[in-house]
């Protein structure tokens, strides 16, 4: 009896580790392959190996060589700018709006909540045709600020719901006792509600940052000239214009964006995981 249980346990652990190792390889392989490709000489991938025989930095240099169709530095800057401003705008608008919905009972509140719920369900994709048509006719092309406003607008409904749900769970007694002590609404917001909502604020910040960073649909409609591209469009065009001929250069570009993002993500993970689980269980 004792021994079968022990062999059972060993078997289970063996399969556990074998499986985890297999998954680890599955995850690491594509990433390492990209790193390898970025250091491989030449444009062709046929000769690519994960550990290149003659590693070269040529592809990294080419990214910044300032070609008309390959303005990597510019794309990088555009992407960061759009993502950061969207993130800030989303955090500000969403926390104020969620505060209003969570702490005040005002006329139209129910209707506004219904509207937000409905808008949260309709994908922003539904606006695509309008934006394409209007951007063309009105000459709103290539404007990053327009794009930022559109992104913030798209982020508001869902994130307001998340934030409102989280703020609802903060006891009302806290603000009431502060109010008795003479604190204004704005002060209660900044000094009590906002600090306590930090886990959900982290989730909202992450949504606001990663949403625009990965977006291809809206940005490809509005951004048409190479110097206004963001990374998704720029890299997509780079890969697809001459398929295969510039894949190694793409790999170098992919590495330069992925590493800082992945590191930031892993470092900040703790901040938003608690918010995510809270949002998940509260629905």
């Amino acid at each position: 009896m004792q021994t079968t249980m022990k062999t059972n346990r060993i078997l289970r652990l063996f399969f556990t580790y074998a499986f985890l190792l297999f998954v680890t390889v599955l995850i690491i392989y594509p990433l390492l392959w990209t790193v390898g490709a970025s250091f491989n000489p030449g444009n062709s991938l046929i000769s690519t190996s994960i550990i290149p025989e003659n590693p070269t930095l040529d592809h990294y240099k080419e990214l910044f060589a300032g070609k008309e169709s390959l303005q990597y530095g510019k794309w990088y800057w555009n992407s960061l700018k759009i993502s950061i401003f969207t993130m800030l705008g989303t955090m500000i608008t969403v926390s104020f709006t969620a505060f209003a919905f969570s702490r005040f009972r005002f006329k139209g509140r129910k209707n506004a909540l219904m509207l937000f719920l409905l808008l949260q369900m309709i994908p922003q994709f539904a606006a695509l045709i309008a934006l394409f048509v209007l951007a063309q006719i009105l000459g709103m092309m290539n404007s990053h600020w327009l794009l930022i406003l559109l992104y913030i607008g798209g982020q508001i409904p869902m994130n307001t719901y998340l934030m409102k749900g989280y703020m609802d769970s903060i006891p009302m007694d806290l603000d009431e006792s502060a109010k008795i002590d003479g604190a204004s609404n704005t002060r209660i917001f900044w000094q009590i509600i906002l600090p306590l909502s930090r886990p959900m604020l982290a989730v909202v910040a992450m949504n606001g940052f990663t949403g625009p960073l990965g977006d291809f649909v809206l940005s490809s409609v509005i951004l048409r000239t190479p110097d206004s591209y963001t990374l998704p469009i720029g890299l997509y065009k780079l890969v697809n214009d001459v398929m295969g001929a510039s894949y190694t250069t793409f790999a170098a570009g992919a590495i330069l964006i992925s590493i800082p993002i992945a590191i930031t993500f892993l470092l900040l993970q703790k901040q938003f995981v608690s918010g995510l689980t809270a949002g998940g269980t509260k629905g």
């Binding site: 289970r12 652990l13 499986f19 985890l20 998954v23 680890t24 995850i27 690491i28 594509p30 990433l31 392959w33 490709a37 991938l45 046929i46 690519t48 608008t93 104020f96 709006t97 209003a100 919905f101 005002f106 509140r109 719920l117 808008l119 949260q120 994908p123 994709f125 539904a126 695509l128 045709i129 309008a130 209007l134 406003l149 913030i152 607008g153 798209g154 508001i156 990663t210 990965g214 291809f216 649909v217 490809s220 990374l231 998704p232 890299l235 997509y236 890969v239 398929m243 295969g244 790999a251 992919a254 992925s258 993002i261 993500f265 892993l266 995981v273 995510l276 689980t277 998940g280 629905g283």
Partner: protein, 418 residues
């Protein structure tokens, strides 16, 4: 007649009812508001509604699309105007009623303080609402309106006018053979894609969380970091990397891995079936970490006592899993799991960035792996079939809203049960 009847009747011209109630300042404010509304927006409303009904009558003077846009803005402005108008009527009725009951009407000072006190939530949520109207509601209304016109390459300004055609486009989706067959092909694949890819990523995430969370497993931190990596790397980068890995001629999967096992290369990009397999595999790879993280959180919050009590009662590992772990995960994660489905239903990036929805299908505007959203994107950007794309957008929205409402009711019933 009672004051409560006369005052709102007079307020049909804004402000008069307030004058009747002897609230001079307020009446004046309403009167000025109404007058300036018509002065400021009169032309827009006039032009907008004319354009909205006719969509233009003369080429090249009229641009149907501009007129439509103006018309929708006119609608939004009118909605605001009507809101204020309704407030004016209600105010007149309210104060008329106070007079009927021999109460004094509200004083200007108390109304002002009321406005400041009650105005706070409007003040702080106003900017969001404005942004929503400009960036979301207006474009969506505009897109939806296009579905009821015949706007396409042959009916576009400045050379031609577009016209209202009612439900014709919707009818055509179901009656024109090529459109009907494309629509149902794409819809079928969209549904399969959503179900299979989401189930794969959810079950993979839950399974891995349980595996790593076993008490005896060492290096938990290491494994967790590795398993989160696919989420940490930006999705569009990963999809493009996979597009290279799966490439028929130079991709590493054909050239290195399959060749290593002595297998023939597989046409991942050019064969519809294999492209679909590759997409589902990729979504599993990309999507499981999120579920993994949340499940890990749920697992850690399950009290240890439950398991200990079960062990004392002689429950096997599987009994514990089935009766404790699984129900806990499912209850806590139901909303998140459903979000995965709606996310994949609209997962444009993976389909489009992988191989543009290809391979191409002869005689069809949609490729072999196109889902509804990527097909709509192509119809808009590549073949200028705006009204068709708009009609499909409406169908898609109805579908998504239906699912979301169902989810909403479910989560609500969860709350009531708790």
């Amino acid at each position: 007649m009672q004051h409560r009847t006369i005052a709102p009747l007079l307020s049909i011209i804004p402000g008069l009812g307030q004058f009747y109630n002897k609230q001079w300042v307020k009446g004046l404010v309403f009167l000025i508001l109404a007058a300036s509304f018509f002065v400021a927006f009169g032309d827009l409303l006039n032009m907008g509604f004319w354009g909205l009904f006719t969509l233009g009558t003369q080429v090249p003077r009229d641009n149907s699309i501009f007129l439509l846009a103006e018309g929708i803005i006119a609608l939004i402005v009118s909605a605001f105007g009507l809101g204020i108008y309704y407030w004016n009527l209600k105010d007149a009725y309210h104060n008329g009623k106070l007079r009927d009951e021999n109460f004094p009407v509200t004083s200007l000072k108390s109304e002002y303080q009321n406005l400041i006190g009650q105005g706070y939530p409007y003040l702080i949520s106003g900017p969001s609402l404005f942004l929503l109207i400009f960036a979301v509601i207006f474009p969506i209304l505009f897109s939806f309106a296009l579905a009821f016109t015949n706007y396409d390459l042959y009916h576009s300004p400045p050379a031609n006018l577009a016209d209202w055609v009612g439900l014709e486009t919707f009818a055509e989706i179901f009656t024109v053979d090529i459109w009907r067959s494309t629509f149902f092909d794409v819809l079928a694949w969209t549904v399969i894609w959503t179900l299979v890819a989401s189930s794969l990523q959810v079950s993979l995430g839950v399974f891995l969380a349980i595996v790593v969370n076993q008490k005896e497993v060492r290096f938990k931190k290491f494994f967790r970091t590795i398993l989160v990596l696919p989420w940490a790397v930006p999705g569009f980068v990963t999809i493009l990397i996979f597009a290279g890995l799966f490439n028929d001629s130079f991709g590493a999967i054909n050239n290195d891995i399959l060749a290593f096992f002595g297998m023939d290369p597989i046409p991942w990009m050019t064969d519809e079936k294999w492209a679909r397999v590759a997409l589902i595999f990729m979504q599993g790879w990309l999507g499981f970490p999120y579920i993994f993280i949340v499940t890990t959180g749920v697992l850690q919050s399950i009290p240890e006592d439950l398991y200990e009590a079960a062990t004392i009662d002689g429950a096997s590992i599987f009994a514990k899993f089935k009766n404790i772990t699984m129900p806990m995960i499912l209850i806590a994660m139901a909303p998140i799991i459903i979000t995965q489905f709606t996310f994949n239903f609209n997962n444009f990036n993976i389909i489009y960035l992988f191989n543009g929805g290809g391979p191409a299908v002869a005689g069809s505007t949609a490729g072999g792996t196109d889902i509804l959203v990527s097909w709509i994107y192509k119809l808009t950007m590549q073949s200028s079939q705006y009204s068709l794309a708009a009609a499909l957008t409406i169908l898609l929205s109805i579908f998504v809203i239906g699912i979301a409402l169902w989810q909403f009711r479910r989560t609500n019933s969860f709350k009531e049960g708790a």
